[in-house]
Point group: C2
């Protein structure tokens, strides 16, 4: 193994000077720098990250915890984090929290043990005080995504769930829908509350409130989409539009609607949330609210880099906008259409 000693000997300088060159700090004369760089190249020297880390207590690794690295949504987020980290010369160690308090805590401790230079956390549970304390003691900066409680966060990225849900509801209301159901995520999630607020805001603009739509709570998965929709259908509730908690729920809902012989959007309109990977592959293309996951990941890594190098942040709390993506799953309500048809026939 080629060590810094070999390089220093070859270049005829001390190890300290070599160290200054590879870490790019401190003063080194151009002459010696050239010598050292030549020696490094000739010997094919690669600094030992462990030794550097032990000595300097840095690792050039950012740790990231998301719900599930293998799901498309979070994979894209991690991808964004990696891109952002790369710009700062950092690698990313990612772990899944599985929306479970224990797994999340484990993942964080693990990353802390690895001497991460910073942590990016997308959690679904409030951190236990002892974990918060460990983060604090370690002095590792933290950027949270999604606003789930981590008092140790140095910076927070919020996603505009409020605005997204409001815009989506506005769109649906503007099409004339009033008989609306919402297959919502659970009330334990902050996102759920924000989205409900957003919907309420849009409803309010039409003199309506959440009481005027039908809300059912369940998981953010396809099964809930299928089951919830079946229940809605069975209830014979007059319904012209369904909001799904996310695109997975929407996929399930779409499936159940088709099974029941309902056409989307002719018979019933459907809205998702996330603009997940499959949203545009559904038939009809799903109208949904895009969360710019890749950008969010990059932003998180950028903020963390800034914090690490001590660069002042413009703000330590930023809200990332969401965007309504209009495809083909929302139309005008069936009843209204039949009215028009009636009128047309009457002519």
């Amino acid at each position: 193994m080629v060590t810094i000693n070999d390089v220093s000997r070859r270049a005829g300088v001390s190890r300290a000077t070599v160290s200054r060159v590879i870490a790019d700090n401190g003063y080194v004369s151009d002459e010696k720098r050239k010598l050292i760089e030549a020696a490094i190249a000739e010997l094919g020297y690669r600094p030992n990250t462990m030794a550097r880390g032990l000595r300097s207590n840095r690792s050039d690794i950012f740790g990231a915890v998301v719900v599930d690295v293998s799901s498309p949504f979070y994979a894209q987020m991690v991808g964004g984090i990696q891109k952002g980290a790369k710009l700062a010369g950092k690698s990313v160690l990612s772990a899944s929290g599985h929306a479970l308090k224990d797994d999340e805590a484990h993942a964080i401790l693990e990353l802390l043990d690895r001497a991460c230079d910073g942590l990016i956390l997308y959690l679904e549970n409030t951190l236990a005080p002892d974990v918060v304390e460990m983060i604090r003691k370690s002095g590792v900066p933290v950027v949270t995504i999604g606003g789930n409680e981590c008092p140790a966060a140095t910076a927070k990225i919020h996603i505009d769930n409020f605005g997204g849900a409001r815009d989506a509801m506005r769109h649906v209301l503007a099409q004339g829908h009033r008989a609306i159901a919402y297959l919502s995520g659970g009330l334990m999630y902050r996102d759920t509350h924000e989205r409900l607020r957003g919907m309420a805001a849009a409803l309010g603009e039409h003199g309506l409130s959440l009481d005027d739509i039908f809300i059912e709570h369940g998981d953010f998965d396809e099964r809930f989409g299928v089951e919830g929709t079946k229940r809605l259908l069975k209830s014979r509730r007059p319904l012209t539009a369904i909001f799904a908690g996310d695109d997975d729920v929407a996929a399930g809902a779409l499936y159940a609607l088709k099974q029941a012989g309902k056409r989307v959007p002719e018979d019933i309109s459907l809205v998702g949330f996330d603009d997940n990977f499959h949203a545009r592959h559904l038939t009809p293309g799903l109208t949904t609210v895009r969360q710019p996951v890749d950008e969010i990941g990059r932003l998180a890594a950028r903020l963390l880099s800034q914090i690490v190098v001590g660069e002042p942040l413009e703000s330590n709390e930023v809200t990332v906008p969401t965007q309504l993506v209009i495809r083909e799953s929302v139309g005008r309500p069936a009843r209204q259409k039949s009215n028009r048809e009636t009128i047309e026939l009457a002519r």
Copy 2:
């Protein structure tokens, strides 16, 4: 910071004994072990991974290079790797090779620098000799997935592209299709060749060869699916079935077919490859060949763990089967159907 010294003092033993307890090797009396474990718990001691790594030249990290960590297909694979690694007490540092020789080499060197205990590689290019040399010199074991050339591989996982393509073609032929097009991936990929061989095998069973189907080569993406299909349609070639290079290509093809007013599978049948995330969300559900990515990832991590601990492998070369997933995108060829209809009408 709590160090091993603090623990040894508190427990009244030497550092070496503490080390034996935390590394779980060597003999330690129950009595002292209890003492040490108590001291560790009381002090909240966490071993310093950098120091351990520097000294022992292990990191408990597996490095993984795949084409793109943020794409659903590879994200699932990385997820599988993480699950498998966790069983062996390892974390996973993942990086994207982007199917580019340079990026792949960079990623590997980076992971080598991080003193990974092992490498899992899904590459698209043959490794440059100097990179292979670096891997060799480092002594880090390598498991490759997909069979792309890495002479330094300790174990190789192949995916049965041959069997998958053969089974898919058999299925299509069995439905009566003979006018078939294949929107294939590029010939620079080993997968492409294997799949062509598989198709040829199935065709041979019917006295046909690859010359009897129409093959066009392009990228593994949706755009090629759209463009390729448009060209096929414009060529007015009589066609009853399209094979897509993968599910992305299939999604594009499906889109183009719908645009052209063709019904799938009534007018034309469609087959994908991968059983990617969106395959079952397409309408009709895509008949495709499943690559068990999660299992492959887990297997890779398991093999690597075995190699690391020196456990003998059953075989250092394993082929993972693929599986034909039959959904709704393949039917009997249109012409044949009309024949039947004619017959039925004639009765």
